[in-house]
C-alpha cells in the first residue's frame, strides 16, 4: 500500500504542480496580479475617497430605490453603526474585495455559463469541476493562492473569486436552459441569428435566474473574504481574526456585526433587483 502511495501521491502531485507553476508560469501570475491589483486599488479608492456620510447616503438611496423604505432605513442605521464603532475603512476594504472578486467572477462565470447551456458535453465536464470548487473547504484555496500570489489582498481576491464562481455559472446555465422551447422557436421562426436569440431572448428571459446566481455569488464572496483575512487580505477579516487570535471578544463581536450588516445590505439589494426583473 505504501509503495503504491509513493508512486501515486496525490498531495505531493498537487504540490509539484503548484511548484512547477510558480517557477515556469511566473510571468502569467505576475500579470494577473497586476490587473487584479490595479482594479482593486481603483475600487478601493472609489469607496474610501469620499466622506463616509456621502457613501452612506448613496447606499441608503440605492436601497430605497431598489428595495424600498425598510431596507433603506436598515442600511442608514447599519452603516452609521459601523462608522460609530470605528470600522468604516475596514468595511470599505472588504466591500472592495467582494466587489472586485464578483466583477471578475461575472466576467468569467457568465460566458462559461452560456457556453455550458449551449453544449451538453461542456456541461458534463463543468459540473464535477463546479462541485469540486464548491465543496473543497475554503481554507484549502488559501495555500495555492499564497504560493502563486504571495500575501495580501490580491490572493484574497483570487481565492474568493474561485470559491464564489460556481453559483453564477450554474444558474446562468440553468436560466438559459429553462427558456421555453416555444420562445426559442419563435426567435428562429422570425429569422433570429444565434447572437440575436441570445441577446434579445435567452439572456433577458433568464435574467431573474441569473440574478439569483449573482446574489449567491456575492454572499459566498463575502464569507470567503473574511476567511482570506488569514492571508493578509485586510478588511473586516483582519478584525475578526485578531479577535480570535488575541482573544479580544469585543473586537471579534464588533467585526462580526459589521459583516452581518454588509451581508444583509448586499443580499436585500441584489434580491430586490431580481424581483423587479421578474415583474
Amino acid at each position: 500500500m505504501n509503495r503504491i502511495r509513493e508512486i501515486f501521491d496525490i498531495g505531493a502531485g498537487f504540490e509539484s504542480i503548484i511548484e512547477w507553476l510558480t517557477e515556469e508560469a511566473d510571468w502569467l501570475f505576475d500579470f494577473i496580479a497586476l490587473v487584479v491589483e490595479g482594479f482593486l486599488d481603483g475600487v478601493n479608492w472609489l469607496f474610501n475617497f469620499p466622506s463616509a456620510f456621502v457613501i452612506i447616503g448613496l447606499f441608503s438611496f440605492l436601497a430605497w430605490k431598489v428595495a424600498g423604505k425598510g431596507v433603506a432605513l436598515f442600511s442608514l442605521i447599519g452603516f452609521l453603526l459601523i462608522l460609530y464603532m470605528g470600522y468604516w475603512s475596514e468595511t470599505m476594504d472588504t466591500l472592495s474585495l467582494v466587489f472586485s472578486a464578483v466583477i471578475f467572477g461575472l466576467l468569467i462565470g457568465l460566458p462559461v455559463g452560456i457556453w455550458a447551456s449551449r453544449s451538453d458535453s461542456a456541461w458534463k465536464i463543468l459540473r464535477p469541476i463546479l462541485d469540486f470548487m464548491q465543496t473543497l473547504p475554503a481554507f484549502v484555496y488559501l495555500i495555492p493562492a499564497v504560493l502563486l500570489f504571495k500575501l495580501g489582498p490580491v490572493p484574497g481576491v483570487i481565492a474568493t473569486l474561485i470559491f464564489s464562481l460556481p453559483p453564477v455559472v450554474r444558474l446562468t446555465n440553468l436560466g438559459i436552459r429553462q427558456v421555453p422551447v416555444e420562445i426559442r422557436e419563435a426567435c428562429r421562426a422570425f429569422g433570429a441569428t444565434p447572437k440575436q436569440m441570445l441577446l434579445k431572448a435567452e439572456l433577458p428571459v433568464a435574467l431573474p435566474t441569473i440574478m439569483a446566481g449573482v446574489n449567491q455569488t456575492i454572499m459566498l464572496a463575502l464569507s470567503m473574504v473574511v476567511i482570506s483575512g488569514m492571508i493578509g487580505a485586510g478588511g473586516l477579516g483582519n478584525v475578526v481574526l485578531k479577535g480570535i487570535t488575541q482573544l479580544k471578544i469585543d473586537m471579534g463581536f464588533e467585526g462580526g456585526i459589521c459583516i452581518v450588516i454588509l451581508a444583509i445590505f448586499l443580499d436585500r439589494v441584489t434580491q430586490a433587483f431580481t424581483a423587479t426583473q421578474k415583474r
Partner: protein
C-alpha cells in the same frame, strides 16, 4: 403554379434515420420499424400542393406528426428526405442565410402557447420580427401599430404579456406574425390553448382578416370542427404521419377516403357543414318571355306539382306561380304569366348551412329557392331533401326503434 409544393416528404426521428425509409417502402409497420432501427416516423411520404391565398388546414390527432409537418415548412425541423418547394425553390436545400431571409420576409408563425417574450411589452413583441430584420425604429413602430390595430389591440400597446388574457396574448402573437407582412402564415394549433368561446371568436376574426388580407394560411389543428370552419381545403393526417385525404370540407364529409377518415368525421354535425348549394335540385321553372299558361300546366302536370317558379331569360327569379292562378289566366284567355306571379316563398344563398334552413323548411308550403347575389335561380331545397341529408350521417344502430318491435321482444322474453 402552387405556392408551396411538398413532394415525397419524410421526417424520421432517431439516429441515422435514412435507413428507415427503405423499410417504410417495404410496407413495414411503424412498430416494426421502431423495433428494428429505433427510429420514429413523424411524416410518411407526404405529397401535396398549397395554393396561393388559400387556407390549408392540416388536421390530425396528437402523434400524427402535424406539428412536425408545420415546422418542416419553415425548417425549424429539417426533413429527412423529400422536397418542399416554395415559389419553386427547394427550402430543404437552403443554407442558414437563405433560410433566415425566408423566415424574415416570406413566412411567419403563430404558436400554440403564443411564444411571446415575457420581458417585452405588446408593441415591442409585435415589432420583434421587424427588429430582427434590422428595420429602423420609427418605421417598425408604424408597422407594428398597423398590425395591432388589425387584431384589435389598440390601447394595450404598453401592457406586458402576463397582464393579458390568453385570447389577447394570442392576438399579440397574431399581430407579430402579421407585422412583417409575410405571404405565408403558419399557425400551429393557434387557438387550441384558448377556451371554447374565445376560440370561436378568434376563428371568426381570422376568417374576417383573411377576407381582407388574402394570405396563404397553413393552419394546424386537432379539432375537426375548427378545420371544417376555417379550411378552404383540409389534409387529414392519420397515425404514423401518413396523409389520408386532402379535399374541400364537403368532400371529406361526403366521401371519406378510408375507414380512418370515416370514423373521424362520423361525429361531425353535418347540418352545419352541408350547404344549400350542395344539395339543391332543379325545380319546375318557367320562362316569363316564352312560356304561357299551357306550358305552365303541362310542366306542373308532368312534375305533379301545384306550383312553378318563374324566371326571365337570364334565369333571374321573378316569383312563384300557383296552379289555380294559371287556370284562371287560361279561362281569361290571357298569356302573360308575370301578371299572376306571387312572392310568398323563401329564398336562400348557396353557402347557407342546412342547419339554418331546417326551421324554415319545416313550416313553408313551398321548397326554399336557392339564388345567388344577382337574384339568379340556382335550384330548390325541399324539406325532404334536408331531412334525407341529415339522416345520411346517422349511425343505424342508434336510430329510434318502433314500439311494436320492443313489445314483441319483451313478449318473446316473457314466454321463454
Amino acid at each position: 403554379m402552387a405556392l408551396v409544393e411538398v413532394k415525397d416528404l419524410y421526417k424520421i426521428f432517431g439516429t441515422n434515420p435514412k435507413r428507415a425509409i427503405p423499410l417504410i417502402k417495404e410496407g413495414k409497420s411503424k412498430q416494426e420499424i421502431k423495433k428494428k432501427t429505433g427510429c420514429t416516423i413523424a411524416i410518411n411520404d407526404a405529397t401535396f400542393e398549397i395554393h396561393r391565398k388559400e387556407t390549408f388546414v392540416v388536421m390530425g390527432l396528437s402523434g400524427s406528426g402535424k406539428s412536425t409537418f408545420i415546422r418542416c415548412l419553415n425548417r425549424l425541423v429539417k426533413p429527412t428526405a423529400g422536397q418542399i418547394l416554395i415559389d419553386g425553390k427547394d427550402i430543404v436545400k437552403m443554407g442558414s442565410d437563405e433560410l433566415r431571409e425566408l423566415r424574415r420576409y416570406k413566412m411567419s408563425m403563430v404558436f400554440q402557447h403564443f411564444g411571446l417574450l415575457p420581458h417585452r411589452n405588446v408593441i415591442n413583441n409585435v415589432e420583434f420580427g421587424l427588429e430582427l430584420g434590422g428595420m429602423k425604429k420609427t418605421e417598425r413602430r408604424e408597422k407594428a401599430m398597423e398590425a395591432i390595430t388589425l387584431v384589435g389591440l389598440e390601447g394595450f400597446e404598453f401592457s406586458m404579456p402576463n397582464e393579458l388574457s390568453g385570447g389577447m396574448q394570442q392576438r399579440v402573437g397574431l399581430a407579430r406574425a402579421l407585422a412583417n407582412d409575410a405571404e405565408i402564415l403558419l399557425m400551429d394549433e393557434a387557438f387550441s390553448a384558448l377556451d371554447p368561446l374565445i376560440r370561436a371568436q378568434m376563428q371568426d376574426e381570422l376568417l374576417d382578416l383573411q377576407d381582407k388580407m388574402h394570405k396563404t394560411i397553413i393552419f394546424i389543428t386537432h379539432d375537426l370542427d375548427e378545420a371544417l370552419k376555417i379550411g378552404d381545403r383540409i389534409a387529414i393526417l392519420g397515425p404514423g404521419g401518413r396523409v389520408r385525404q386532402i379535399g374541400v370540407p364537403e368532400e371529406i364529409l361526403s366521401n371519406p377516403a378510408d375507414k380512418y377518415v370515416k370514423e373521424f368525421v362520423q361525429n361531425v354535425d353535418r347540418t352545419k357543414i352541408i350547404t344549400a348549394g350542395s344539395i339543391k335540385h332543379s325545380g319546375p321553372v318557367l320562362n316569363s318571355i316564352k312560356d304561357g299558361p299551357k306550358a305552365a300546366l303541362h310542366l306542373m302536370e308532368t312534375q305533379s306539382k301545384s306550383y312553378a317558379y318563374l324566371v326571365d331569360s337570364q334565369r333571374s327569379l321573378k316569383g312563384i306561380i300557383h296552379i289555380e292562378d294559371v287556370i284562371e289566366l287560361k279561362k281569361k284567355k290571357e298569356n302573360d304569366l308575370s301578371t299572376i306571379v306571387r312572392h310568398d316563398f323563401f329564398t336562400t344563398t348557396p353557402d347557407t348551412a342546412i342547419s339554418d334552413l331546417l326551421g324554415t323548411a319545416l313550416h313553408t308550403k313551398y321548397p326554399i329557392v336557392v339564388i345567388n347575389e344577382d337574384n339568379k335561380f340556382l335550384g330548390i331545397v325541399s324539406r325532404e331533401m334536408i331531412i334525407a341529408e341529415v339522416n345520411e350521417g346517422v349511425d343505424e344502430s342508434d336510430t329510434p326503434t318502433v314500439f311494436s318491435e320492443i313489445l314483441e321482444e319483451t313478449e318473446v322474453f316473457q314466454n321463454e
